[in-house]
Symmetry: C2
Subunit: 233 residues, 2 copies
Amino acid sequence: MKQILLASTSTMFGEEYLAYLQPELKSFFEGISEIVFIPFARPGGISHDEYTEKVREAFHSLNIKVHGLHTFTDPVEAIQQAEGFFTGGGNTFLLVQQLHHLNLMEDLKAAVQGGTPYLGTSAGSNIGGLNMKNTNDMPIVYPSDFTTMGLVPFNINAHYLDPDPKSTHNGETRETRIKEFHVFNEIPVVGLREGSWIRVKDDQVTTEGTKASRIFIKDQEPYELGSGSILRF
Amino acid sequence: MKQILLASTSTMFGEEYLAYLQPELKSFFEGISEIVFIPFARPGGISHDEYTEKVREAFHSLNIKVHGLHTFTDPVEAIQQAEGFFTGGGNTFLLVQQLHHLNLMEDLKAAVQGGTPYLGTSAGSNIGGLNMKNTNDMPIVYPSDFTTMGLVPFNINAHYLDPDPKSTHNGETRETRIKEFHVFNEIPVVGLREGSWIRVKDDQVTTEGTKASRIFIKDQEPYELGSGSILRF
């Protein structure tokens, strides 16, 4: 039985880290006493220890202990024996580069496919898609491969933003970027606004959270899918 | 004698394509009757022909003929014999993937180092830097290498945007992204606002245009450099 949450963001404006997800996490991680945290995306370049400490504080109220994957001498064994996973946000290029470099992408995927609950936020959600080709991040390092876990049969654009009609800036809108992706790729993309997440329970995939998600399919007009909708391509 | 213009954007809000650069282009391309246009970044996924036609119209008033690089049977020869170059914007991953795939990056670099005038806008400017690790674009294709021409001894962040103090969005600011880049890289980065460009004349590199540029050096506070300033690292 697969159990996966892929959230657009870790933090809503003006709120504490992971605060808006606490009710969902309580039931998602029910019966679990400790998780393995994957800190490789390193937001702001902070250390793996600092990032793990931040996550530890957020999971304290759930009575769940947090162990950084970087602290294990045998990370493959740590992944295989984990009760649950959380991969935090930061830079998706860095996260994917590290997971491929350390040869952990496939082990992580196998564990989640085997039923270990997986929570991702932002970059940690992007790697739940088929590849990282819809990240908004800057390519600060060169990954050996853009392929990710493919826990869901589509890609995710985290922190999805609607076009700003008042903008005088010439950079591409998110929608334009995803349309350009579809000139060269067939994979559906879910634009996940901050406050929303994807939930996978066995083979049922739903969109959840406070905002509708925007669905992009090659050669079709994008459309909105409200919270609680089943995603099927 | 090197002659290079690397502009942040092709188009200012509400203006025609390349309009704001026309006075600069008139002197930059003086005595040149035709240029080779490199359309591989393909904004919006338009065809190479459509993109070249758009550029042809913009160069009409300069009395300069435009030939798309994709129309030559021998693109290496076309590059070696060109009087001048223009590489347009679009997606930097696509542009770099194509230039490496077609084995043209080094030939283009050699021609520009040898004195053929080079104009880039946006993605076309990014490839003037040492590598493409400061692009804002979405990684819709996987380049075999992030290395670019290194016409200047730094990287460019085109369409540079200042943080929006009113934003409630959790995506990283441009400044945060460049700081993250400097956790893993030593290369200086020039944040080039729309309306500004880099000019190289022999070995002198200056910042030009209507806006100051923002300079990012590892482990230093970013600073502003006004139009007409010499860039030296």
